[in-house]
Subunit: 416 residues, 2 copies
């Protein structure tokens, strides 16, 4: 079944617009084994829209037209579709009344007469109700092509697609898709590629995609089953197991979770508490830990000790450690972690100190140099890293390393 | 001049892909008064690509084809364009040699023979050098249409567009565009709309766009001038002045800066220092302040006092303030700000305490309730706010409010 999407609107051809609608529609179609063959984006010129509709109707079995159904001068999808198919537009007073009522109910003042154009329906089309806006959708058949017209705003389009378009497509789909996202940190993309070499499935129902972003890598596994609404995806399970064998504890989640969520769950499971001491990350690490709902159960306190005096006073970092080794040193990181743990009385404390740049680097201590430390009852560990990138990228990677240090320690079965 | 973009690649029709290439190309074209009339995204089916090229060549004066020039089986743009135009592909040994050399220089092992296909050029086409990858681009003319083939990866495509396509388009453009971004906080979108009513320019060279996001609103002003490389945009200046008159100190930047950057500049100009005490924002506020390069000049310390014991010990919040009014109260916020200022010895201190949710709300203190305080030598101010949204949205808005409180105080001419 050949499917095409036609997105209408001159704003879609300007640089500030990202078309999220068709990403979402494509995902839902792919899930049941339907592919989008072509996507066209066209401006508000009625001649251009007419041409696009005419061409697409000749090629496609399903054409989804999005946008251009509103009340303004620029909204020409209704008129263009009618012209492309050589059908009249019919005025439907009951639609006019429902738009008018909706408008007046919201107390927005006088009802603009321009809204009347939204009450016109292409001859032979069914009306698709829009519970979140004024412009209704339409559905009609021309030759061998089903045409669906939907309004452009995502909060109107997506619920309408789910409720009125999707259920009918389910019957025409070929099956269902299972998905699994493995998240990895502490290893580079090329090392991951080397480790999983030979596991890429040949083209077929099972797919493996690697997505690399800052400080983490995602492996997306998807399996398509010809069974509609399949309960099991054996190829996906087997591939996920092999990936786990190859990547071991570099994998921090097999369910697509954030690193901070995983760390939070591990802390909670032990009934353990955490404090953070930060210099170069400036609050980002505590901010990530506390972004998780319910984190107050384990996170007690963060010390953003940017100034050296704060490191000394709040964390008890000895002044001579800073004088001898510098504030960016393994010794300072260790003292910060131990001081944070002591001051807050927590089971664990993480510390980060480094040079996030763009200024402040020296030949011995370049921009990107970061020391990370973890203190617990049994001891202390520190790690030296040099990250590449902009200030925000260095900061994110430093926080990521700190969280991963804690994850690895919490994942050990025996000792703390 | 009718311009079309054709993006080739089945991956572009999957949900994980966002087409940033054409956003950037569109921006550059718009800047000189050239509009994109149509954008088409097509998969790797050679018949579909041939059809797209044939149709577009009939309509457009310039067709930019992106992607599908690589060495793999899926890369069919070269073959499809040749077929669509009825021209042969000619083998160019010098291209083969340069691809081979580039490959071997990078020490990636044996040269895969599949790379040979990248050495074929459509008859009559000029070769466009690709300094950042193997696949060269091509440029040719068919009838009245210029066709440019560019590789898909942004880091290859964008530099080639800038160096080889853009300079020639400049001559065919109609002028240049000036842009200004005003950033606003502390007022809702509908209030902004009411205040600027009547200032929207009629359709013409001057454009005003409102973009609303979490806790802030952007007004984008753009003026197109028929003069190429115009130095002045008088309509833009005049509209920006009127917008400033209407919106006053709700505007925190007329140069598109972040609120934390503006606050940092104001602190630096005074030689003043800052500390932050945070509960519900959990480090986000300090994290935003320290995201600005050079912030160590004014930011001294952050206290992420999540637990009540931390508020009492680190900030000296009186235990009976918490017992009487609760940790989420104007009294607690004020005590936190004063305590942070006292402990860190800074000129200013901001404090935030609230309920970010999703749990922890009560009828008297619902999720989204946030108290923000600012302490300075002359005194203290506190504000109560109730934000709507998810946990991350409530936290961002709370930090935004705190930063704006400081911005407003620092913007006063006379007292501190």
């Amino acid at each position: 079944m050949k499917i095409e999407i036609l997105a209408v609107g001159s704003e879609l051809l300007t640089p500030s617009f990202v078309d999220t609608n068709s990403l979402e529609l494509t995902r839902r179609l792919n899930d049941i084994g339907l592919d989008v063959a072509r996507k066209t984006i066209v401006g508000d010129d009625i001649g251009d829209i007419v041409a696009c509709v005419r061409e697409a109707v000749r090629r496609a079995k399903l054409l989804i037209v999005m946008g251009g159904l509103g009340p303004t001068e620029d909204d020409k999808t209704r008129e263009a579709c009618a012209a492309a198919l050589g059908r009249p537009l019919l005025y439907r007073p009951e639609i006019y009344e429902s738009i008018r009522e909706r408008f007046l109910r919201r107390g927005r003042g006088d009802f603009p007469p321009s809204n009347a154009k939204q009450a016109y329906v292409i001859e032979g089309a069914d009306v698709l109700a829009n519970p979140n806006g004024t412009a209704p959708g339409q559905r009609l058949v021309e030759g061998g092509c089903e045409i669906v017209l939907l309004p452009g705003p995502p909060k109107e389009l997506l619920p309408m697609f789910e409720a009125l378009v999707w259920p009918r497509l389910l019957e025409r789909g070929h099956g269902s898709t299972g998905r699994r996202v493995l998240k990895i940190t502490g290893i580079g993309e090329s090392d991951v590629e080397t480790r999983i070499a030979g596991l890429y499935p040949p083209s077929g129902p099972l797919r493996l995609t690697i997505l690399s972003s800052l400080g983490q890598i995602e492996l997306h596994v998807a399996e398509f089953s010809r069974e509609k609404d399949a309960a099991r995806f054996p190829g996906l399970e087997s591939l996920a197991t092999q990936l786990r064998d190859r990547l071991g504890d570099f994998i921090y989640s097999t369910a697509g979770e954030d690193l901070e969520t995983v760390v939070g769950r591990l802390l909670k499971a032990r009934g353990a508490t955490l404090a953070c001491a930060e210099s170069c990350t400036g609050g980002l690490l505590s901010g990530r830990v506390t972004s998780v709902p319910g984190s107050s159960a384990y996170f007690k306190e963060g010390f953003v000790t940017y100034a050296n005096e704060a490191k000394i006073r709040a964390l008890g970092v000895p002044a001579d450690v800073i004088a001898t080794h510098g504030a960016v040193s393994a010794e300072a990181a260790a003292a910060m972690a131990q001081g944070a743990r002591r001051a807050s009385g927590t089971d664990f404390a993480l510390a980060v100190t480094g040079i996030a740049g763009p200024d402040g680097g020296t030949p011995e201590k370049p921009v990107g140099l970061v020391f990370v430390a973890l203190a617990w009852e049994g001891g202390i560990e520190t790690h030296r890293n040099v990250y590449i990138g902009r200030r925000d990228q260095i900061r994110f990677q430093a926080a990521q390393r700190a969280l991963d240090l804690l994850r690895r320690r919490l994942s050990r079965p025996a000792d703390t």
